[in-house]
């Protein structure tokens, strides 16, 4: 009986209520202790009885004013000094002012303007046909080389164009491309993705081996292959394996949704090595590598392919980055970031398209936009699109600053997957039957947006 009583006491008025809903991680700092003391003082009946409340409050005012002044100065943070180390050249992380700011830098804005023109004038007009043929037209890809897409994420000293870590610029570029067409954007970004990865994680010799091709005139087709044809696929736990063999490794497994897989000359492939997911550089000529087309629901212009690896031998220096899973995980996060940016761009395309459509389409004697049932769908697209954009930008700016962005990119992916799909769905719905036919691009965007949150790899920023 007493045991029951004790338990009941603890359950009702015990541990939980005395913590006032605080999570176990919460702790008081010096100011917190002072405030807690103040709180006791404020509840004290004695100061009322003695008529001291007003004086006490005056005292608190003065003490607080002075006390918090000190706290402000003591709380100042100074920038950390960066030290160079490690093999291979690495892009520097961006310099920060510490201000909340949504304005791109002048360089970023210039880049976005160029890429937006390319997306509007080259990608969008080519999108419908590329979707049918499952091929990105040669002139579209040639133009992508002209505007420097492959070397966007490569440091200056390696022949690229970035002075510092380019995750933010890359995100803005992918967003602008996504506004043109997601499938073509993937096709155009694929070589640059591999070049960026080499810049981020390559050894000096890997960079010297491969990067000159990407920074030259004859840019190779290349692909980052992480996805596998597995139900409930967990990218951090690939079934493709790497087994040590002599000085090198043997790779076995199947990769799916590989962008321009049939044309690629160089792959970065994810495989499990000694229990840790690891990236491997595999050239297309390797023995045991075969490719078959893998056309899917959407992003068809990206010429998706299935890549079968059976007993593919690669040398020891094929490993890209660390073998403890850290490089692989960072790669997955940066890739998800790029997918989010593509989703934001495509979502913007939907919003712009339906805005015009619902204002022009008439029913019951007036534009359908005059009805709340229609207008509110547009509002929700706008709200969720800006939600996706801001959370994606936060992840990107943290990545660019060299901060941990695992939480932010996970949240961005969660939003861009679910809300992005909702935007695609509502885009078709707002056009009714017209949205269902290929006369309008919304059905393509619907199919493309389903890729977000499902496909891994392919692009990174």
């Amino acid at each position: 009986m007493s045991l029951i009583n004790d338990t009941f006491k603890r359950g009702s008025a015990g541990a939980s209520s005395s913590r006032h809903g605080l999570a176990s991680g919460e702790s008081r700092d010096a100011i917190g202790y002072a405030i807690a003391g103040l709180q006791k003082l404020a509840q004290n009946e004695l100061i009322d009885r003695l008529g001291l409340r007003k004086q006490t409050e005056q005292l608190v005012f003065t003490a607080t004013r002075n006390g918090f002044k000190t706290a402000t100065v003591a709380g100042r943070q100074f920038g950390k000094v960066q030290r160079k180390s490690g093999p291979g050249k690495r892009p520097a992380t961006a310099n920060r002012s510490g201000l909340f700011d949504l304005t791109p830098t002048e360089d970023e804005q210039m880049l976005v303007d160029v890429v937006t023109d390319y997306a509007t004038e080259v990608l969008r007009p080519a999108a419908a046909e590329a979707n049918e043929t499952c091929v990105a037209p040669a002139e579209v890809l040639a133009a992508s080389l002209e505007i420097g897409l492959p070397i966007l994420g490569v440091p200056e000293e390696l022949g690229g164009i970035t002075e510092e870590r380019s995750a933010m610029a890359g995100t803005l570029v992918a967003e602008a491309l996504g506004q043109g067409d997601m499938g073509l954007a993937l096709a155009a970004l694929s070589p640059g993705t591999v070049a960026t990865a080499l810049g981020l994680w390559g050894t000096a010799s890997q960079q010297e081996t491969y990067l000159p091709a990407f920074t030259g005139d004859d840019v190779p087709v290349a692909a980052l292959a992480l996805t596998e044809p597995t139900v409930l696929f967990d990218v951090l736990n690939p079934t493709t394996t790497a087994t040590r063999s002599g000085d090198g490794y043997v790779l076995d497994g199947v990769k799916s949704s590989v962008v321009r897989g049939a044309d690629s000359e160089l792959f970065i492939i994810g495989a499990m090595l000694d229990g840790s997911p690891t990236l491997f550089l595999v050239e297309s000529g390797a023995e045991g590598l075969s490719v078959e087309a893998d056309p899917s629901m959407g992003v068809r212009a990206a010429s998706l392919a299935k890549l079968v690896l059976s007993g593919v031998q690669v040398p020891a220096e094929a490993v890209l980055g660390e073998t403890d899973g850290s490089t692989y995980t960072e790669c997955v996060r940066l890739s998800r970031l790029a997918w989010c940016a593509l989703a934001v761009g495509t979502g913007q395309a939907v919003l712009d398209y339906v805005t015009k459509y619902v204002n022009e389409r008439e029913a019951f004697g007036e534009p359908i936009s005059h009805r709340q049932a229609v207008a509110f769908m547009v509002s929700n697209i706008a709200i969720e699109l800006q939600s996706m954009r801001l959370v994606t930008y936060k992840a990107a700016s943290r990545a660019a600053a060299g901060k941990d962005f695992s939480r932010e990119v996970a949240l961005a992916r969660q939003l861009c997957g679910s809300k992005g799909m909702q935007i695609g769905l509502d885009g078709v719905q707002l056009l009714g039957g017209h949205g269902f036919v290929k006369e309008h691009p919304v059905e393509r965007w619907y199919r493309d947006l389903r890729a977000v949150g499902i496909l891994e790899g392919s692009v990174l920023v």
Binding site: S16, S17, H20, G21, R28, D29, G32, I35, A36, L38, L41, Q43, R53, E57, Q58, V60, F61, T64, R65, F68, T72, G75, Q77, S97, G98, L99, F100, D101, L102, T103, E108, M168, L232, D234, L236, T329, T355, N359, S369, Q372, A375, F376, V378, S379, A382, I383, Q386, S387, M388, L390, V391, A396, S397, R398, A401, E408, V409, A410, Q414, L415
Partner: protein, 403 residues
């Protein structure tokens, strides 16, 4: 340069607000939820502390009056000012307790209204007052342009007549900012706001409401019967500018909506923080790198809630940042309010669901937060009103076209 972190210069303020919320508000949170209409005397001490903070300059101008638009010359540089400081500190305080934040002396929504539309002379004269906000009437809620409370000029005084409901801090505040029409025939342009001081014989608090949540905050019904106020207490310009229309009085909302969004963000985070902890104790750890569909349903739900929360938080910061940098933010303020309002409800209610009867019981605060959050999707413009404003802006439609 794009950066969405809490600015370095505001981090100390946020930490301080968090400590105040944790050590001052949380310990009395349940007490005043149960003792509805009892004056939380602890708040006077806190208000003194906040005034001290304000005087030291370390609060970055945060608070209800932090929403005044700076008219000084623009040097083109990016600013993180009082609007951002206000939403960040209000979110922290509501992480502590939303009802108590709303009861904070001298931090009423009326103070924000004064800061938004008062001229410099009035701003000085009303400094230090605690002002409640009275807009809603028994038959006029969202349709605030059709209020029936009248203001008639008689000599150098206005005479107010009408009934206002849902006046937050209506009983406790020193003054009430009242919306009234100078001439109903002239429509929304004739609606002006007046500061009515407590003790004015024409103003009477009729009763206090019993509510679902934010019970620490008093919500009053106030009647005005031949209530005379000096003509100089009409906020802003007395002229009825039909072209400018409603803009004057409505400008308040561009400033106060991000504040209410911040309240929802803070309240929801209280639920998220505790639920994450309770789930961890139950063996559920959220993995950010693994796909949600390979984790438990509880972890997947948590990821969805946290993503929505982050979006609401950033939309709120965006709206405040735009105000700090003198960019028109009506669209963004409504987006923040709409997203934060609905996300606040989803998160607080879902956290109760995840925690089961632990969440439903008064032994924890989860059930309280899920009651407190509901009002935040209603006052200062309901979810539906925000969607209407957003749609009109995006689609370029007038209020006659999209009703």
């Amino acid at each position: 340069m794009i950066n969405l972190e809490t600015p370095k210069k505001h981090r100390v303020l946020v930490d301080q607000a968090h400590q105040v919320a944790m050590n001052m508000l949380r310990p009395i949170s349940r007490k005043y939820d149960q003792a509805e209409h009892e004056y939380p005397k602890e708040l006077d001490m806190l208000a003194a502390m906040i005034d001290g903070l304000s005087d030291s300059g370390s609060n970055e101008g945060a608070g209800a009056t932090g929403v005044r638009r700076d008219e000084s010359a623009d040097d083109g540089s990016v600013k993180n000012g009082a609007n951002l400081a206000s939403v960040l500190s209000i979110a922290e305080m509501c992480w502590g307790d939303t009802g108590l934040l709303l009861s904070m002396p001298r931090q009423g929504l009326g103070n924000s209204a004064i800061a938004s539309v008062a001229n410099d002379e009035q701003l000085k004269r009303f400094e230090g007052t605690w002002a409640a906000m009275a807009i809603t009437e028994p038959s006029t809620g969202s349709d605030s342009a059709s209020i029936t409370t009248t203001a008639r000029l008689d000599g150098d005084e206005y005479v107010l007549n009408g009934e206002k409901i849902f006046v937050t801090s209506g009983d406790r505040a020193d003054s009430v900012v009242v919306w009234a029409t100078l001439d109903k025939a002239l429509g929304r342009a004739a609606i002006k706001s007046f500061v009515v001081k407590k003790g004015n014989p024409g103003m009477k608090v009729e009763r206090l409401e019993h509510k679902l949540g934010i019970r620490a905050s008093d919500t009053a019904v106030i009647t005005f019967t031949d209530c005379r106020v000096p003509a100089s207490d009409l906020l802003g310009s007395p002229e009825v500018d039909v072209k400018q229309g409603f803009a004057g009085a409505m400008a308040t909302f561009d400033n106060t909506r991000p504040l209410v969004a911040a309240m929802a963000v803070g309240c929801a985070r209280a639920s998220l923080d505790l639920t994450r902890d309770l789930l961890a104790q139950a063996g559920i750890v959220v993995d950010y790198d693994r796909p949600a569909q390979v984790q438990s349903a509880a972890a997947a739900k948590f990821l969805q809630m946290e993503a929505d929360w982050e979006a609401a938080h950033l939309l709120t910061m965006q709206a405040a940042w735009m105000a700090d940098n003198r960019k028109p933010n009506s669209l963004e303020a409504s987006m923040a309010k709409a997203k934060a309002g609905r996300v606040g409800s989803d998160i607080t209610l879902s956290c109760v669901e995840l925690a089961g009867s632990v969440g439903y019981s008064e032994a924890e605060l989860l059930e309280k937060w899920s009651r407190d959050s509901k009002i935040l999707d209603i006052f200062e413009g309901t979810q539906q009103i925000q969607l209407l404003i957003i749609a009109r802006r995006i689609l370029g439609l007038t209020s006659a076209e999209l009703r």
